[in-house]
């Protein structure tokens, strides 16, 4: 045996000496006394001081989660306590969620982070209990009298560290809430705790830097208008090279019928840009009167992961821009959390948008009365309606090189109940589509593991653990049906699923739904298509193949 192989006695010693619940080390202690351990790969870098200063957020400083001293501001306990009290008054849902849990445990094994890590504090019920225990200590009178008995505890710095750890191991995906008999939305508890943590400067740079950029320039990467336009024009050139068709998007054009807003990842990142090319081809194909704003240049809203006020502020730019440009309604691109904000919060935060009209498809005449309040339609609904009315000329054979499965994005699936529209599109633009196992799709879909601003590189191991249940479901269709393409309708998915697939299921690529639409669209005046939007050869069209009808 090599001398470098660790000795069994050493390994056993480490295992024996390190405490664990399994071995009963904590049997006489309360569950919350088990210490948290920040180590490489399980935490995100904190907000940079300059980012916090830009936003006017509390306690800008240089620090790291691995530091002993987190340099919390003086009087931080009162800040948290007052913050919690004011939020309990303001949001009835929070109070309801804190009071009504009976700890039945139905949610326990539904969380992808719990399934991926086995850490009991990742059970949604226990994660919420991290806040509830403090709430019980401080608030309801009966609980105050029954201290200890009711599972209450004092707010200490250790509690803050625990909150930071575990409320950043929740992607606000809401899978747990599907199984909760009371409908408790743990995502909203996470949102509130993150909001409280931001009051004392305990935060995540991967969330706050995009918030700050978006606050200043209108999109997460802080790309200014001229660059935004140049990027899209560069995609327009790519489209012309590939298809021979010159699409003509317009920017900030007053009087357009529709304002199109999509996550900025579609304009800058790979593979989002191919989805953007799909949108542009589609709009050209149907002759849509639309414009793109270089100010409301972000569909995503990381304010949702920061605070309610910030979410409201970043969301407001959509309406402001729609009003300024005088459009009739807003069409939104493929995104996840953007749609939770739009569908569940926008109307009460910034509505009613009386200056807009209830969206009507100019091509089919369909009135989207489901969007009567927000005046904003999801592109999957819009395209599914076009296909339903046979308004698109499609050749699904052009996607024969792709054997697909569909990942329901949490916020579109559970946040707005959209299951069939993307599948209807997918079945019409490609010939091979296989569903993942039933308990991993639709309302029971597993998160990518990187949602809600946890997509930081330094958090990679955590993301791989959290994303494992999703990857494992993909592996099943990969093994059974030779699936090689994971199609999705979320920008965070498009960014986070490629590494997840590359790690767990090498050989599976990630596609936006409208990228496949773009491949399949038979454009008027197009040249012979031999390559898809990624410039990969299309099966059967390489040499002598014919894509004409």
């Amino acid at each position: 045996m090599s001398k470098y192989v660790p000795k069994l006695s050493d390994l056993k010693k480490e295992f024996d000496e390190k405490p664990s619940v399994l071995k009963g080390n904590y049997s006489v202690q309360e569950w919350w006394d088990i210490p948290v351990e920040f180590r490489d790969g399980n935490w995100c870098f904190p907000g940079k001081p300059e980012v916090l200063e830009d936003l006017g957020f509390a306690n800008p400083r240089k620090w790291a989660a691995t530091d002993e001293n987190w340099q919390l501001p003086a009087g931080w306990q009162k800040t948290i306590s007052d913050g919690l009290q004011s939020r309990l008054k303001k949001y009835r849902s929070l109070k309801l969620f804190l009071d009504s849990c009976v700890r039945c445990g139905a949610c326990a094994d539904k969380c992808h982070f719990f399934l991926g890590t086995g850490d009991p504090k990742n059970m949604p019920v226990v994660r919420a209990e991290l806040l509830r225990s403090v709430y019980r200590h401080d608030f309801p009178l009966v609980e105050k009298i029954l201290k200890g008995f009711s599972g209450s505890r004092k707010l200490t710095e250790a509690v803050i560290k625990e909150w930071h750890m575990y409320f950043h191991q929740c992607t606000e995906c809401r899978r747990c809430s599907v199984f909760c008999p009371f409908g408790i939305d743990t995502a909203e508890i996470t949102m509130m705790v993150r909001e409280l943590l931001n009051l004392i400067g305990v935060n995540n740079n991967w969330i706050l830097a995009p918030v700050s950029n978006c606050n200043r320039t209108g999109n997460h990467l802080g790309i200014e208008p001229h660059t935004f336009v140049q990027n899209i024009n560069s995609l327009v050139e790519d489209i012309e090279d590939l298809t021979g068709v010159a699409v003509e998007p317009t920017f900030n054009r007053k009087g357009a019928e529709v304002l199109f807003i999509t996550p900025s990842g579609d304009v800058f990142g790979d593979p989002g840009v191919y989805t953007m090319m799909g949108y542009l081809l589609l709009f050209h194909h149907i002759g849509l009167d639309y414009t793109i704003s270089t100010y409301a240049s972000e569909g995503g809203n990381f304010g949702m992961f920061t605070s309610n006020d910030m979410m409201k502020k970043l969301n407001a730019k959509m309406y402001h821009e729609a009003k300024r440009l005088g459009v009739k309604w807003i069409l939104g691109g493929e995104c996840g959390h953007m749609w939770r904000v739009v569908h569940q919060y926008m109307n009460t935060m910034n509505g009613p948008a009386d200056f807009l009209e209830v969206p009507v498809s100019p091509i089919t005449g369909t009135r989207f009365s489901n969007a009567a309040a927000t005046k904003m339609v999801h592109i999957a609904e819009f395209t599914a309606d076009l296909i339903h009315h046979k308004k698109l000329k499609l050749d699904p054979k052009r996607n024969d090189h792709l054997r697909t499965t569909f990942h329901d994005s949490c916020n579109v699936a559970r946040g707005m109940g959209m299951f069939e529209e993307p599948r209807h599109i997918l079945r019409n633009v490609c010939n091979t589509f296989h569903e993942m196992p039933e308990d991993t799709i639709r309302e029971k879909t597993f998160c990518c593991g990187s949602g809600s601003g946890l997509n930081a590189e330094e958090n990679m191991e955590n993301r791989m653990r959290g994303g494992f249940p999703r990857a494992n479901a993909v592996k099943q269709v990969k093994d059974r049906h030779k699936v090689n393409s994971l199609v999705t309708i979320c920008a965070i998915d498009r960014a986070s699923l490629p590494p997840l697939m590359n790690y767990w299921n090498p050989g599976v690529s990630v596609y936006g739904l409208h990228e496949l639409v773009g491949n399949a669209l038979i454009m008027q005046g197009e040249k012979k298509r031999t390559e898809d939007l990624r410039e990969n050869p299309m099966a059967g069209f390489e040499d002598g193949g014919d894509d004409e009808e």
């Binding site: 399994l22 890590t117 850490d119 304009v267 790979d270 990679m460 960014a495 590359n502 790690y503 767990w504």
Partner: protein, 156 residues
């Protein structure tokens, strides 16, 4: 490996696997249950490794990768992660002490088994490191993908 060992492994497969899987799950923080995806993948992979051992042409690389792929992203150090490949030797010893078939396993066969697991541990180390390196590679690739258009413009 000889037929005696293969026979022994086959007849005790269930017991060995159960104990081995328990050791593997005990690595995780607290409550990694049998019905979790992690446990299912580990269980399948450990079984493949064990089934392959008695055969002459033993290629369990894929199963080994399945195990280390999970281990390489956990919150515990490599020494702890790879310790699961040292467990079968102890499990085998325990089982042999309890079964009558044990008498038929010669010292030579036991040594062959142990030495095979030593090799497997080293192969697992290689595989574990490949996955660690992959994590760093993913970080770099993700950075480039995020800045795809900016990089393209600089190249143009």
């Amino acid at each position: 490996m000889n037929t005696v060992l293969a026979k022994f492994l086959e007849s005790n497969k269930k017991a060995i696997l159960q104990q081995w899987l328990d050791c593997a799950l005990a690595l995780f923080p607290e409550k990694m249950g049998y019905s979790t995806p992690v446990a299912m993948v580990l269980s399948g992979a450990l079984e493949k490794i064990l089934s392959g051992l008695g055969k002459s042409e033993n290629d369990c690389q894929e199963a080994l990768d399945d195990v280390t792929r999970i281990l390489a992203v956990q919150n515990f150090p490599p020494s702890k992660a790879l310790s699961i490949f040292l467990e079968p030797k102890l499990i085998l010893r325990d089982i042999m002490m309890k079964t009558t078939v044990a008498g038929t396993l010669t010292q030579e066969v036991q040594e062959a088994f142990n030495s095979r697991f030593d090799r497997l541990t080293l192969e697992a180390f290689d595989s574990y490191m490949r996955h660690r390196e992959k994590i760093y590679q993913l970080k770099v690739e993700e950075g480039s993908r995020r800045m795809y258009m900016a990089l393209r413009r600089t190249e143009a």
